[in-house]
Symmetry: C2
Subunit: 254 residues, 2 copies
């Protein structure tokens, strides 16, 4: 088993940020700068075409650390961030760009390619979680949440279906095609975001994926607006969702 190798560290505004690797996987771990007793861990899955330190990731990490004192981790997905792309990655990305430029539906390509990336990403997330749980401030028995939209959902739904250490998950903005069968195996609390006027994901498709989760506790947040117009307050809502389910009171208003 690979262990966590820390490679850089900074602190600002109460947030400690440590770059690390686990084998070939580059990651970043955010924690309270004040130090933290054993605290829950939230896995952040980034969207397609972005990376572990994209503004949406650092913003969510800041909210989760400041609001709840959690540890938060992101890793670069295969073919993303500082990681090499395969010939297959290049081909699929080119096809997506062509479809977008031609105004053709990108859904079928995104569904297929994200599913392929999920197959590569799942063992990497599990190895990362194994390694992080060796750290004394995280530990092997603490609660773990998963938070990811778009490609972060395409990876997170199968991961949550097979990874029993994840006890609450916040997803959104994907198609049911490759995910519904995994969603039907998920029973932990789920919060799911969709855009009511999504130009890529038909409304019925988003509702069908939410419907598929077997969770007794699940909440759909549907907002008026296009695919990229998810309101910022949904990130605050996800923080409160994890505060409720990972067992920490919020430490400040959000």
């Amino acid at each position: 088993m690979n262990s966590v190798q820390f490679t850089a560290e900074t602190s600002s505004n109460g947030l400690r940020e440590r770059d690390f690797t686990v084998g070939e996987i580059p990651g970043v771990l955010w924690s309270p700068a004040s130090g933290s007793d054993r605290a829950p861990l939230v896995l952040l899955g980034h969207g397609g075409g972005t990376h572990k330190k994209a503004p949406a990731m650092t913003g969510r990490a800041q909210l989760l650390v400041a609001g709840c004192g959690f540890h938060v981790v992101a890793i670069d997905a295969p073919g993303h961030g500082s990681r090499p792309r395969t010939a297959h990655d290049e081909q699929e990305i080119a096809l997506m760009r062509q479809a977008m430029a031609a105004g053709e539906p990108v859904g079928p390509i995104v569904v297929r390619y994200n599913s392929h990336l999920a197959d590569r990403a799942l063992p990497e997330w599990r190895a990362t979680l194994d390694a992080l749980q060796e750290l004394p401030e995280i530990g092997a028995d603490g609660p773990v949440g998963y938070f990811g939209l778009n490609m972060g959902t395409a990876i997170g739904v199968p991961l949550t279906a097979v990874e029993s250490r994840i006890t609450a998950a916040s997803f959104g903005l994907h198609w049911p095609d490759a995910l519904a069968e995994y969603a039907r195996r998920i029973t932990v609390p789920v919060e799911y975001a969709l855009q009511w006027d999504d130009e890529h994901i038909p409304r019925e498709s988003g509702l069908a994926l939410f419907d598929a989760f077997a969770s007794k506790e699940k909440t759909l947040h549907a907002n008026a607006g296009a695919h990229k117009e998810l309101p910022r307050f949904e990130a605050d809502s996800a923080v409160r969702f994890f505060a409720r389910h990972l067992g920490r009171a919020m430490t400040s208003p959000a």
Copy 2:
């Protein structure tokens, strides 16, 4: 125009509660006990068969006053609380009870009777708002929100459609039949709650009512569970919704 006549006052836990009448209409006004400069006003509409001081009303008032420093008002709907029932009220209530006892759908009766009550309630809410805006701590130009589920939505949707002083509204748990045409005239921000497994309101009906709102900013919160299982955290969410839209920062975590 009738003015507000205060008839009783108590204070506890930071909450000032004043009973009042406006003409024949009995109401209750909750405010911060510490006094309050001019602050926004939230109208609370209670559910069918309950009244202005039902636990759901006092609980929401507490959250809104403690969390945002708002004024909050509830009035007894026609035929509810301390108000007399007409022969028509008695007849409709008897029909609802019969349907429930027989396991028959109550929807058609609820839709029809609530629509009738809305016709009676709308001028009462407008008269109450006129009178409350004469109070110096509320004033004629402050923001006004409306918050009501079930029958509170059946009354609140037509009220919000015609009452331009209402600038944000939180609704939920009703049928589109008598309400969709009003919803199409509403353009202020809306938060709408429905239950994904509602045994009375078909899922498609709830989604159709949410879809009908013309608001550019609208959010659907759909939770797994039966009609009466709306999670308590949705009340906290409504408080944050009003904090965002009526222009007051939250004063404590919620």
